[in-house]
């Protein structure tokens, strides 16, 4: 295993994760496009020394996460769920009757459901649209 192949693998993985946040229709094309740029960056003779090229490749891959915005519908669903959380929390505090254990249990359950939903939305679980 060479350093280049290691960097290439790591950058590919980062790009794959970034692509999972894209709408399903765009994933494959974006993945192929960004992956195709990696060799150009890693073997760019204008950039020396080699560790600088490796760093560039990793930054290229990492920065794709910044460039990806969630679709508006997804954002509004996140906001709806966030508002739901706040409302539920307020209700529990107001009418919980000092039963902190019940309060924590319910919030814990809601957190698990919310985290699962986030994972599902990001495509990490059972999503066949993995661009590989």
């Amino acid at each position: 295993v060479t350093l280049s192949s290691l960097i290439l693998g790591l950058a590919e993985r980062m790009i794959r994760l970034a692509c999972l946040r894209l709408p399903e229709a765009d994933r494959d094309e974006r993945y192929r496009e960004w992956i195709a740029e990696l060799p150009a960056i890693l073997y760019d003779s204008d950039v020396r020394p080699a560790p600088r090229r490796a760093l560039r490749a990793l930054l290229f891959a990492a920065d794709q996460h910044r460039g990806i915005r969630l679709p508006r519908a997804t954002v509004s669903r996140f906001l709806d769920i966030g508002a739901g959380f706040v409302a539920t929390f307020n209700l529990l505090v107001a009418f919980g009757g000092g039963n902190e254990v019940l309060l924590i249990a319910i919030l814990g359950l809601l957190s698990v459901v919310f985290t699962s939903w986030q994972f599902k939305m990001s495509g990490r679980w059972g999503n066949k649209a993995d661009p590989r």
């Binding site: 192929r32 960004w34 195709a36 740029e37 930054l59 794709q64 460039g67």
Partner: protein, 111 residues
């Protein structure tokens, strides 16, 4: 098209040779912007019909390298880019006033 510093640099690179096909890393290097800024910008320019993209045809001398996606300004893109850059130059010239506010460098988009 809202002309940010980053977009201005990308348009200048495209206009150096409007007939040339440019790939992402090439544009990043020439315009000195990050990938997270460039690709959303290209997508938006494409949505607005100012940029075309096409996949590189498979080449026998590619040595296993995957085909790249190339970008080029459309006719309308060339016209709009020239207009916007000319306007930006006018606004930044000492005779017509100070440079416009464009936000933080290298983080703008083509919104």
């Amino acid at each position: 098209v809202k002309l940010t510093n980053a977009l201005e640099r990308v348009l200048r690179v495209f206009l150096e040779d409007p007939q040339a096909d440019r790939y992402g890393y090439d544009l990043m290097k020439a315009a000195k912007i990050a990938s997270g800024t460039l690709y959303p910008m290209l997508a938006r320019l494409q949505d607005e019909g100012l940029v075309n993209s096409a996949w590189e045809a498979p080449r026998p001398d590619a040595d296993g390298r995957p085909p790249r996606k190339y970008y080029r300004l459309t006719g309308e893109g060339v016209r709009v880019a020239r207009l916007e850059l000319a306007q930006a130059s006018l606004e930044s010239s000492p005779a017509t006033g100070s440079r416009r506010a464009t936000g933080r460098p290298a983080t703008g988009s083509a919104q």
